[in-house]
């Protein structure tokens, strides 16, 4: 048996807890802001709380292998409930608190949860709604009893009451001692965009090995502070707030409520922080809007020093040489702008920040790095216990997701799909051997569903697109439309882009201009126009877009594998793609097939050799009436950059 842990290393999450109690009993383990004050619990106190709750579960009759669902916002007691469940041999199953009732019903029924631990009345009501569907459900344990006085308490107990019950200490010790490295630590339901959610079973081995490797990778310390605000049902939160917190012994801070997160962030000033791109985007936007309202001097100061920061900040962060003048300006900027700004954002103390989940715009990414915030990207998924690749300090770029995390092996299939194998690879999908088998092969390789490639020279993984969107061009070269479209959309003038090319000899594109950005530009340049359509076909607009496309082509050409995706011809559409016309989904994702079919005359023209095309398009007005617009669109040939060969060849 190849166990990665030495014999006396903790074999389960409760064992890690015991180790932490012995190591630093008086160090804060959890904090929660309540009644306006940060209440804290040391590791010793945390262990006591967890034991009391675990004993309570025994008095309720919890058996080994029972599933215990946990629903609620991030609160220490709910984290304790998860560890307590494991301590008596049960399996914690955190669920999304904002999930619809039927989703919760499905999960409760699927795992056969006998107990549910919830935060407050809202979740009690939600569980009560689905009680009929969840056959195995016996008892609800709630944290905040407000509004529950009148409820029937025959199958409900408060957290406090359960903790006070005492219980069979010997039985608890027997069960927690019996936990092995391969017992389940947690089960997480993947949100799943298609089909039913799947219950991903993660073992102690998955959680502890991952926590250990990732903590070592980023040199996490017991003195670190994190803010636990992302959904508890998400694998990332389990690894950050339970796995890594237990492994390194750092302190997990829970916000007062969902709405106070930014204030609490400022008060705690975490040193290790994780946020999806939208959080960073939101913060940046609010900074920019507030700067617009600032006085002229402040505005100048801000823009001047942000320019300095963009120039030298990232280099200084990576420890690269920077001129003395640059350092001096940056130092001054730090006193006048960056320091106060970071303080306002609550990011002053960050040593390691991560973003993941979706592509982050390079300018957003660079803004934070320029300020001296060590923001990095990682790529992962539930089935991998988060980590597949991550960026080491000093090798951070906005266009890669980093090198394989410690212990992770990567391979790229012929189709371009990324596969990985690691100690974090999940045990199975609960009660779903078919899906398990189709995702994880006999050798332990797991398909990510994403297409990507490993950059030569640096060894960084680059994700191109969802594997199902990636195709082949006529000559067999890789076709990744979203990769190119994202590059185009990073230009403020371009609102949408649709790239065609699957099965063809070259790529062509439709482009939608952004009316507010281009309109603004037209105004400043004295370009008169009367309609979107007229503006979209203005020669100078086309020229500008031409420039953008050429730049994108040049950047695409830098990737040897994707050089074939350069845009040869493009046209600027005379109307905005619209959900009302079925061209986009309501969440503003382009329906590639619909667009291709609807504008097939334009697509054909792109692949022909005419310089102009007359077209009629049916449009739906906001009040539902239909109309027809006609236009003559010019088709432009874009500048193609020569594909770069890797220098080493």
């Amino acid at each position: 048996m190849t166990s990665n842990a030495s014999r006396d290393a903790p074999q389960s999450v409760p064992a890690l807890l015991a180790r932490n109690v012995a190591r630093f009993p008086d160090k804060p383990a959890f904090r929660e802001k309540e009644f306006g004050i940060w209440q804290s619990w040391t590791w010793a106190e945390t262990a006591k709380e967890i034991d009391a709750f675990a004993l309570g579960l025994l008095t309720l009759g919890a058996n080994i292998g029972d599933h215990i669902a946990v629903v609620g916002r991030n609160r220490p007691a709910l984290y304790w409930a998860m560890v307590a469940a494991q301590k008596v041999g049960c399996i914690p199953v955190p669920l999304y608190q904002d999930a619809a009732a039927e989703e919760i019903a499905y999960a409760l029924n699927h795992c056969g949860a006998r107990y549910v631990v919830v935060g407050d009345q809202e979740q009690v009501d939600k569980v009560a709604d689905v009680r009929d569907g969840a056959k195995a459900l016996e008892h609800v344990i709630y944290l905040d009893g407000r509004g529950l006085r009148k409820y029937d308490h025959s199958h409900m107990t408060s957290f406090a009451e359960l903790k006070g019950k005492g219980g069979d200490l010997a039985e608890m010790a027997r069960r927690s001692d019996a936990l092995t490295y391969d017992d389940t630590a947690v089960m997480l339901y993947t949100s799943g965009t298609t089909g039913r959610p799947k219950g991903v079973v993660l073992s102690n081995r998955n959680v502890i090995e991952t926590a250990k490797h990732s903590s070592e990778f980023d040199r996490l310390l017991p003195e670190d502070e994190v803010l636990a605000y992302l959904p508890m049902a998400w694998v990332g939160d389990f690894i950050f707030s339970v796995g890594q917190a237990m492994w390194t012994g750092f302190c997990v801070n829970c916000p007062e409520s969902e709405h106070t997160m930014l204030t609490d962030l400022r008060e705690i000033g975490p040193t290790y922080f994780f946020a999806p791109p939208r959080v960073f985007e939101g913060q940046l936007t609010s900074v920019m809007i507030r700067m617009e309202d600032a006085g002229r001097f402040k505005k100048w100061l801000f823009h001047h020093f942000m320019e300095v920061a963009r120039r030298v900040g990232p280099a200084m962060l990576d420890g690269k040489p920077v001129s003395f003048g640059g350092r001096l300006s940056y130092g001054l900027g730090n006193i006048l702008v960056y320091g106060p700004l970071k303080n306002t954002l609550g990011l002053s103390r960050i040593r390691i920040g991560y973003t993941a989940g979706e592509a982050i715009g390079p300018e957003i990414f660079d803004f934070y790095r320029a300020l001296g915030i060590n923001l990095k990207q990682l790529y992962g998924q539930t089935e991998a216990t988060v980590y597949i690749t991550q960026q080491p300090d000093g090798e951070v770029r906005s266009d890669t997701v980093g090198v394989p995390s410690p212990g992770v092996e990567l391979k790229i299939a012929d189709s371009g799909e990324v596969f990985y194998r690691s100690p974090g690879v999940f045990v199975e999908y609960y009660k779903n051997p078919e899906s398990t088998a189709s995702t994880k092969d006999a050798d332990g390789w797991v398909a990510t569903g994403d297409a990507g490639f490993i950059e030569e020279g640096t060894g960084h993984l680059r994700i191109i697109d969802r594997a199902k969107d990636v195709g082949k061009m006529a000559d067999g070269a890789l076709f990744a439309p979203k990769y190119v479209e994202n590059k185009l959309k990073f230009y403020p003038n371009i609102l949408e882009a649709v790239v065609f090319g699957a099965g063809r000899d070259r790529c062509c594109a439709f482009i939608n201009i952004d009316l507010s950005a281009v309109g603004n530009w037209a105004e400043r340049n004295n370009i008169a126009y009367s309609s979107y359509q007229e503006l979209s076909q203005h020669p100078r607009v086309l020229e500008m877009i031409d420039g953008h496309v050429a730049e994108v082509n040049a950047s695409v050409a830098e990737d040897e594998m994707l050089a074939g995706c350069q845009i040869h011809r493009f046209l600027v559409l005379h109307k905005e793609l619209d959900a009302d016309d079925g061209e986009m989904t309501r969440t503003r994702k382009v329906r590639r097939a619909v667009v291709g079919e609807k504008f097939d005359d334009l697509v054909n023209a792109l692949y022909g050799d005419t310089a102009e095309i007359y077209t009629e398009t049916e449009v739906t007005y906001e009040d539902g009436r239909k109309g027809k617009i006609t236009a003559t669109l010019s088709i432009r040939d874009a500048k193609i950059a020569p594909a770069m060969k890797v220098a080493a060849e």
Partner: protein
């Protein structure tokens, strides 16, 4: 009308106690105008008691009599088994009666926290001297009061706006802050003057929830004026209906709903 004067238990299991406030034959005149004509009613402990009626019926005047802002020319006000002599509003407040206003009356420039803290005024006994020096009793009291205020803030879920100046808040939230200030006084009787006025459906639902929770959690007796019939009928245990200064109905929501005089007052009646 059912005899409500004895303690009883409501359908949803709340204990309603003895009479807390008893109004005997109240008449209130402004010059020649009789705003309230010979009205008697009582409020029992733990109850949610609504006063409804068309515009100008005298509802707010009645609330002002309860709160001591107006002293009726005739009639007696009994509170907790004792006859209440004419009093100033601050003296009534000390008795344990707190209120919110139809038109929000908060300190716009002060933070939510400070506004709610003012609700604790009657719980501060330290001398001016000791408060100026911030020693002993003053410091202790401030801590205790802050604790009480924080519980209210938590209860009404306004943590996120704790430090926000009230002037910057939207209307619905200001109403909630006003409720918070009244609650901070830990009143025996809470008077709410049109707590849902000007709110959208969602805000109304939230406010209803809070009113019920306050009553349920702290056992606070509540008297409220409200125009939204749906809200009144859902929330209250007993309803008084007023019209032109007179009491035309008094009883459970169902009783009141079926009272012919009430229907006439609300829907109008043809004079033939």
């Amino acid at each position: 009308m059912k005899d409500m004067l004895t303690p009883y238990v409501t359908e949803d299991g709340r204990q309603i106690g003895e009479v807390l406030m008893d109004m005997h034959n109240i008449t209130l005149r402004f010059g020649g105008v009789e705003a309230i004509k010979d009205i008697s009613f009582n409020i029992q402990e733990g109850e949610i008691r609504a006063i409804i009626g068309p515009n100008g019926a005298g509802k707010s005047s009645m609330l002002n009599v309860i709160s001591g802002f107006y002293n009726p020319q005739e009639g007696e006000v009994w509170f907790r088994g004792a006859k209440r002599p004419p009093m100033k509003p601050y003296q009534v407040a000390r008795l344990g009666i707190a209120r919110t206003f139809q038109n929000i009356a908060l300190f716009e420039g002060m933070s939510v926290l400070d506004n709610v803290m003012t609700g604790r005024l009657n719980h501060m006994d330290a001398s001016l001297f000791s408060q100026a020096l911030w020693r002993g009793r003053a410091e202790r009291e401030e801590t205790e009061n802050r604790e009480a205020v924080e519980k209210v803030i938590d209860f009404l879920e306004i943590q996120a706006i704790r430090k926000t100046p009230v002037g910057r808040l939207p209307y619905g939230l200001k109403k909630r802050v006003e409720l918070a200030r009244a609650l901070a006084a830990e009143p025996k009787l809470l008077l709410l003057d049109e707590p849902m006025a000007g709110m959208n459906v969602e805000e109304k639902e939230d406010m209803s929830r809070f009113i019920l929770d306050v009553n349920d959690e702290f056992g606070t007796t509540i008297a409220l004026i409200e125009h939204d019939m749906g809200v009144v009928m859902d929330l209250s245990d007993r309803v008084i209906v007023m019209d032109y200064g007179r009491k035309i109905g008094d009883g459970t929501p169902d009783e009141v709903r079926n009272n012919q005089e009430v229907i006439d007052a609300y829907l109008g009646v043809s004079h033939d």
